[in-house]
């Protein structure tokens, strides 16, 4: 297979932020996840929770609640503003102050015409949703006490509001509170400590509340009496979620557990039903702050930054990739860019960039020292790139693109900002340099912009059509968009060359082979295609892969491939990596068939030289380095492996709530 010098990099201190809100859109099957740094991520359920889009965050923006209205996504937070996200351009569309202090919760009515926001000042503010904006309609309530949680009845005429020590039910016609349900304070705390109703649900005939006393309570809507009281935890019940048919309910707690309740027959075959606590899942170490139920899975997220997708086995018919637990911890895009020729590493943090330069001339040793690039403005970095020659660095935020020139003489490094970037290039989803470092390509939702770079400055050259994932080899440029359409452009002629047939799953990574000009595409469902750009058709290898099918071990992996690179020494080698492994595909070897052993490196080692070839297959996986953020090939047959040990992340998290493990 060949030997590589491995540069094992562990100084990228990437720290994911905690999840603070989630919303699942049943119609589009998209999950929106808001993190504490203000960013919003979109996952596609149909595509094995592939992270399709990321709206970068912004300092001081906090999102407490997310809400889908049709295909529109609204968010609100402690800044007191309600904002709509532009999911095409991946930025804020507009934001409007609700004038009620921090907003704790927003919900939209079942008809999709109004938004209700629960504010710090104790009012529920109703907004009408218009085409491009929202318009304030009226206030409800208005006494002291913040409104923490809201739930809209399916008829659209009543709203339940979780407050401190009580739940109020508002009637929308009159605008008055029709019921006050008092929640008793817990026995655990002193009686003086108030009980916060963190979450309410409005089912057709009951109201369910989860509070800081650790109780899930069921209330009768008509009489306002407590029907059932479940003590779920010693600590807080932070979030609740109900299935669409209202027979199953989940509660997330501070202990990191998710507790299921089901509406079951007391006596089989009879009418009488009761909410019974059934299963408990514990997949989190910290508070579970957000929950979403998507038919056959329950998705939970919290302070420990991971998104856990837990399948409900009783609703699945057969075993498949969907029936296994999925934990999403790392971003499904590359945060590291590597200058192959110069041996530079650029780490992208939300608020700054870090450039590590190779100072040692030695081939095997990569002595690096960091250069830190602070950001201007409050916006977080959305993408960044470093040119292969190491002379240029570019990054983009939602408000603008910055290009820097890096000059090195001996040990002095100077970074100068390149002024006068073309006006068209205001914001990019992806940035990419051509292999000879002469051009910068930036993509927006509508076009690919090409900027020629010269030592004097930069010049806007052309705009091409749409995209999000870019890769180029000088002559050709391929770009994929979120609809998984791939366009290929001829950069010499500066025009569209062809398109690749659309596949049902999103493109997670792609790369153009520098010699053969073949485009290798890896999709979120782990399928691999190779497309010959010159012949404008799939290559024989790709057809063979499709015909024989990939090995089930490969298809059952959790995380999508993030990056595709090639081995300059051996044109047959394609290097892929996801969060937990990297893999070298040798296209000259036969593909593994269904029965063969997938991880066969050890067995091969034990075999004599002559037999090895017979048993070896194309996929060589390496799980030595975990979890991976980047694997890239440098010119001198060496690999750069950027790891982020899980332990470092968990030690940086705040302490979880104290729990007794044993004893009673």
């Amino acid at each position: 297979m060949g030997e590589f010098t491995v540069h094992r990099v562990r100084f990228f201190h990437y720290m994911p932020s905690g999840i603070c809100a989630m919303a699942f859109n049943r119609r589009t099957e998209r999950l929106a996840v808001a993190r504490t740094d203000g960013s919003v991520e979109l996952y596609s359920r149909t595509d094995h929770f592939f992270q399709e889009k990321v709206v970068p965050g912004r300092q001081q923006r906090s999102i407490q609640a997310l809400c889908w209205v049709g295909k529109r996504l609204f968010g609100a937070g402690l800044s007191g503003e309600i904002a709509e996200f532009d999911l095409d351009n991946l930025r804020l569309k507009f934001s409007q102050d609700a004038y009620g202090g921090p907003i704790w919760s927003i919900v939209c009515n079942p008809q999709g015409t109004h938004l209700a926001a629960g504010c710090e000042d104790g009012t529920v503010k109703l907004f009408e949703i218009l085409e491009d904006q929202i318009r304030f309609e009226r206030n409800m309530g208005g006494q002291k006490g913040r409104i923490i949680s809201l739930a809209w009845h399916s008829s659209g005429t009543k709203i339940a509001a979780g407050m401190i020590d009580m739940i109020k039910v508002f009637d929308l016609d009159s605008g008055n509170a029709v019921q006050r349900l008092l929640v008793e304070r817990g026995s655990r705390m002193q009686q003086s400590q108030e009980c916060v109703v963190w979450s309410v649900l409005f089912l057709s005939d009951i109201i369910v509340s989860g509070d800081s006393a650790g109780k899930v309570k069921m209330w009768d809507v008509n009489t306002g009496t407590l029907i059932k009281n479940h003590q779920v935890t010693e600590w807080d019940v932070l979030t609740l979620s109900v299935s669409q048919d209202e027979t199953s309910l989940f509660a997330g707690t501070s202990e990191g557990t998710v507790v299921q309740f089901q509406l079951l027959d007391v006596v089989l075959g009879q009418e009488e039903k009761e909410w019974v606590r059934t299963r408990t899942f514990k997949n989190h170490t910290h508070d579970v702050i957000a929950l979403a139920e998507a038919d056959t899975v329950i998705i939970s997220g919290g302070m420990d930054t991971q998104l856990v997708v837990r399948p409900l086995l009783d609703k699945l018919d057969f075993k498949s990739r969907d029936s296994s637990l999925l934990k999403i911890l790392f971003p499904q895009r590359s945060l590291v860019s590597c200058a192959k020729k110069a041996g530079l590493l650029l780490f992208q943090y939300p608020t700054h960039l870090e450039l590590w330069l190779k100072t040692c001339p030695s081939v095997h040793l990569m002595c690096l020292f960091p250069v830190r690039l602070g950001l201007q403005g409050e916006d977080h970095v959305c993408c960044s790139a470093v040119a292969p020659c190491g002379e240029w660095i570019a990054y983009s935020t939602t408000s603008g693109i910055r290009l820097y020139r890096l000059q090195r003489d001996n040990k002095n490094v100077s970074i100068t900002k390149v002024p006068k970037l073309p006006k068209v290039l205001r914001h990019a989803h992806q940035l990419c340099f051509s292999p000879d470092s002469s051009h910068l390509y930036g993509t927006t939702s509508s076009a690919v912009h090409v900027v020629a770079l010269t030592s004097a400055g930069c010049k806007f050259e052309h705009s091409l059509k749409p995209n999000s994932c870019v890769d180029s080899d000088g002559k050709f440029l391929a770009s994929a968009n979120s609809n998984s359409e791939i366009h290929i452009y001829n950069m010499h002629k500066l025009k569209a060359h062809c398109t690749v047939p659309v596949y049902r799953s999103g493109v997670s990574a792609m790369g153009i082979h520098p010699e053969t000009n073949n485009l290798v595409i890896v999709h979120a469902d782990h399928q691999i295609f190779e497309f010959s750009i010159e012949q404008m058709q799939y290559t024989d290898w790709s057809r063979r892969v499709q015909k024989e099918g990939l090995h089930h071990v490969w298809l059952e992996r959790d995380t999508p491939v993030i990056n595709v690179t090639f081995n300059p020494q051996n044109p047959n080698h394609v290097i892929l990596h996801d969060s937990y492994m990297f893999c070298i595909i040798d296209q000259s070897l036969p593909l593994p068939d269904r029965k063969s052993q997938f991880h066969n490196q050890l067995t091969l080692k034990s075999l004599p030289e002559a037999e090895r070839l017979k048993h070896s297959h194309a996929f060589k996986e390496c799980k030595l380095y975990q979890p991976l953020l980047c694997v890239d090939m440098l010119e001198n047959q060496s690999l750069v492996v950027v790891e982020r040990p899980l332990l470092d992340i968990t030690t940086n998290l705040p302490a979880p709530v104290r729990q007794k493990k044993f004893a009673t």
């Binding site: 027959d265 006596v267 019974v276 299963r279 009783d314 044993f662």
Partner: protein
């Protein structure tokens, strides 16, 4: 008005015992089964009647208040479990071996339709199969709400069978992670809701609901137990669920709330829980031969404690001279004082004085030796830990009897008295000197003396006085002569005689080949003799005056015991897996008494227990029993049960075979019954009318004839044997009548009090075999 739960029924061996819950006393016994009782349940139609099933293939219906057998149903197959339900009147549900399968491990559930006849003994022929593949564990089958369905768990499967649509639903728990031990251990159904509770090997309890769905069944997990949940039980109202396991903690779960109450430190691990019909009393049975009666507010109201059986008797059987109680190791780290006369545990002495925490594989301290001085005012104990490890920790403790506390108080603790395991320990036999001699595998024996009063403030303490060695040989046994003038210590093949005053080696005696196994001085008139047994099957007798071998004989001796009150010696020999007993005087070559085929298997321990008042019996063959009785224990797991080939490692302890060799006793052994209380009872009730133990043993005669010294033995005339047997029968009758009187008295009591309900205690066959040595109660002194 409230219906007090008055009686407690418990299956024990082939008997069903009835206890009173308030007085903890044994009221009477339902006797009639000829094999182990496997299940007892109340007759749902009449709460004063009880069904009991047995491995002998019969189900019997009793009136337990009067102790009368009402009916016997002959099934014809050994029954593993019995279930009855209110809804299915006239039907008994039995777990019997599957017919078509020769494999006896495979069990099935059948419904037996009981014909309505007035006859006493009915043969039941109508058996219809309900469910195949039933677990042999009786706790793994249970009736659901009002007998609508039956739930059975076996291995990783839970099967619910609905009688209405005659269709079983299966559910398989998620075998999620590797190594998860999800095996079902027990089942209990909620009496009102459709909810089945199951206990699992990993300590979890699952409450299954919606189990009539193929896929959408669901369950709630309750987890407190850290290892196997042995038993589960819903209260009749269904508000609480009780669970018990190896931790000996009773956990009471609130049914629809996530809260629980626990009652810890109940003793041995809980093997069974049951609840009285009105839910006011719970009873738990424990692996250490105990039944605890608990009120519904989790207060222990009564404890019925039998002789604690540990894994083995580590300490020899010892008699406490003060209380005349039998002393042996009981609970881990404890010595139990057990009254043979009253058949009841007197008290436990905590030797190790550490909290006992159950943990599998954890090496615990065990009491391995105990010895009393002549008056019972001093006790020496040895505890050790690290059987498997190479470095054993040994502690020697000396205890003084405290008159005010009526208990033993720790005087001195000697850490590591010897470098290796202590093999024997004995007290100086007279009261003048308090001295203990210990021998150990490190090659020396030590003498420990109680120091002078003035030594310390806290009174005298013990210290080592002398360390003796002999040619680097390992000492195995030590023994003082009756007057304390001589100490014999055996070093492998050699017996050394020391003067304990001056610690001078007086002489050595040796009779190769074979190491010395047992060592014993003669008493009273025979005190000039020293007896020893060797590993090469020799029994030797030396005359200490001449220092020469008086006689020796070649028999496979397993145990040699001396009667402290007479010259008599008892010897147990093992031949063809049968143990024979000989009683003799060292001075006379003729044995006083022999019995061959006393029991099957090797006798482990034995002891002479002095009687409270000597008998005046002139029958020659039983004279030796006049002043004391001989008790012994065997390892009962030899091959009592041909059906159960599994041999337990744990040596069940102490069926105390009384030396009244009865043929019946042997029969019982053959059919797999360990010795019963009945034998014990027989002894105790008839203590003053002890029948002549009249068994002749030809084998002994023969063996002695063969012996080299040519001991002459006269064969006793056979007429005598016949005669004595007759006598025996007579005495038995006498006792029976005595029992009957008692029963009547008890009846009277029962009728006077309230209408009573009782609960049945079921036990699995195997468990029974292990636990039924429960000397759970004593008969009131007659």
């Amino acid at each position: 008005r409230s219906r007090i739960h008055k009686f407690l029924l418990c299956a024990s061996g082939d008997l069903v015992k009835v206890f009173s819950t308030s007085t903890e006393e044994w009221v009477h016994v339902l006797q009639g089964h000829t094999n182990v009782v496997t299940g007892i349940t109340l007759n749902p139609a009449n709460q004063l009647q009880v069904y009991s099933s047995s491995a002998d293939g019969t189900v019997r219906l009793w009136d337990f208040t009067d102790g009368i057998l009402i009916k016997t149903f002959v099934i014809g197959y050994p029954i593993a479990t019995l279930l009855v339900s209110n809804k299915h009147e006239g039907i008994l549900f039995l777990v019997v071996p599957a017919k078509d399968n020769s494999n006896s491990e495979c069990l099935q559930l059948v419904a037996a339709h009981v014909p309505k006849t007035l006859e006493q003994e009915v043969e039941v022929r109508e058996l219809s199969s309900v469910l195949p593949n039933i677990s042999p564990n009786p706790r793994a089958v249970g009736f659901g709400r009002e007998g609508e369905y039956i739930a059975s768990a076996e291995g990783l499967k839970l099967i619910v069978y609905f009688f209405r649509d005659q269709k079983p639903y299966r559910s398989v728990p998620l075998i999620s992670s590797k190594g998860a031990k999800n095996t079902f251990t027990c089942v209990s159904c909620h009496p009102k809701d459709d909810c089945v509770a199951t206990g699992h090997e990993d300590g979890k309890i699952r409450l299954w609901r919606n189990f009539n769905q193929k896929k959408e069944y669901t369950y709630t997990t309750l987890h407190w137990h850290h290892s196997v949940v042995n038993t589960l039980c819903f209260t009749p109202e269904g508000t609480t669920l009780l669970s018990g396991g190896i931790e000996s903690v009773l956990v009471q779960w609130q049914y629809d709330r996530n809260s629980k109450y626990i009652l810890p430190r109940l003793g041995g691990s809980i093997t069974h829980i049951s609840v009285s019909a009105d839910g006011s009393l719970f009873t738990t049975s424990h692996s250490d031969n105990k039944i605890t009666v608990i009120q519904s507010n989790l207060k222990v109201s009564a404890v019925i404690q039998g002789l604690v059986k540990g894994e083995a008797v580590h300490t020899d059987l010892v008699i406490d001279p003060r209380s005349k109680a039998l002393v042996l190791n009981g609970k881990p780290g404890h010595l139990q004082f057990y009254s043979l006369q009253r058949d009841k545990q007197l008290y436990n002495l905590d030797i190790v004085q550490q909290e006992y925490i159950y943990q599998e594989g954890l090496d615990q301290y065990e009491v391995v030796k105990a010895a009393f001085d002549a008056h019972g005012s001093c006790l020496a104990t040895v505890e050790e830990r690290g059987k498997k490890l190479s470095d054993t920790e040994i502690t020697l403790k000396f205890w003084d009897y405290n008159e005010t506390a009526q208990s033993f108080v720790l005087n001195t603790t000697v850490m590591t008295p010897h470098d290796n395991r202590i093999t024997s320990m004995c007290f100086f036999p007279t009261a003048e000197t308090t001295m203990v001699v210990t021998t150990a595998r490190d090659g020396c024996f030590k003498a420990w003396l109680l120091g002078q009063e003035s030594d310390t403030e806290n009174g005298p303490s013990w210290s080592c006085d002398f360390v003796g060695r002999y040619h680097d040989l390992q000492p195995t046994n030590c023994c003082f002569s009756a007057d304390g003038s001589l100490l014999a210590v055996s070093f492998q093949e050699v017996i050394t005689i020391w003067n304990p005053e001056t610690w001078e080696l007086l002489t050595t005696l040796c009779q190769p080949p074979g190491n010395i196994k047992d060592l014993c001085f003669g008493r009273l008139s025979c005190s000039r003799y020293l007896l020893a047994t060797t590993t090469k099957n020799m029994l030797c007798c030396w005359n200490l005056l001449t220092c020469s071998l008086e006689w020796s004989t070649s028999i496979a001796v397993t145990l040699l015991k001396a009667d402290p009150l007479s010259e008599n010696m008892a010897v147990f020999t093992l031949q063809k897996e049968q143990t024979d007993l000989f009683v003799f005087k060292p001075c006379e070559p003729r044995p006083l008494f022999t019995q061959n085929a006393l029991c099957v298997g090797e006798v482990q321990r034995a002891i002479f227990v002095p009687r409270e008042e000597p008998l005046d019996n002139c029958d020659e063959s039983s004279l030796w029993l006049n002043r004391s009785q001989l008790y012994f224990t065997i390892n009962p797991v030899c091959h009592l049960l041909p059906t159960q080939a599994v041999i337990d490692d744990s040596v069940a302890v102490t069926p105390f075979y009384l030396l009244l060799g009865k043929h019946r006793q042997r029969e019982q052994e053959m059919c797999g019954l360990p010795v019963t209380e009945q034998q014990g009872r027989l002894l105790h009730t008839a203590a003053h009318v002890l029948p002549p133990a009249s068994f002749l043993c030809n084998m002994f005669v023969k063996s002695l004839l063969i012996s080299q010294t040519g001991v002459k033995v006269e064969t006793e005339p056979s007429e005598q044997q016949a005669e004595s047997e007759k006598e025996e029968e007579e005495s038995e009758e006498e006792m029976d009548s005595c029992d009957a009187q008692q029963d009547r008295r008890v009846q009277g009591l029962g009728v006077e009090t309230v209408p009573l309900i009782s609960k049945a205690q079921e036990r699995e066959l195997k468990k029974v075999r292990r636990t039924d040595y429960s000397w759970l109660s004593c008969l009131s002194d007659s």
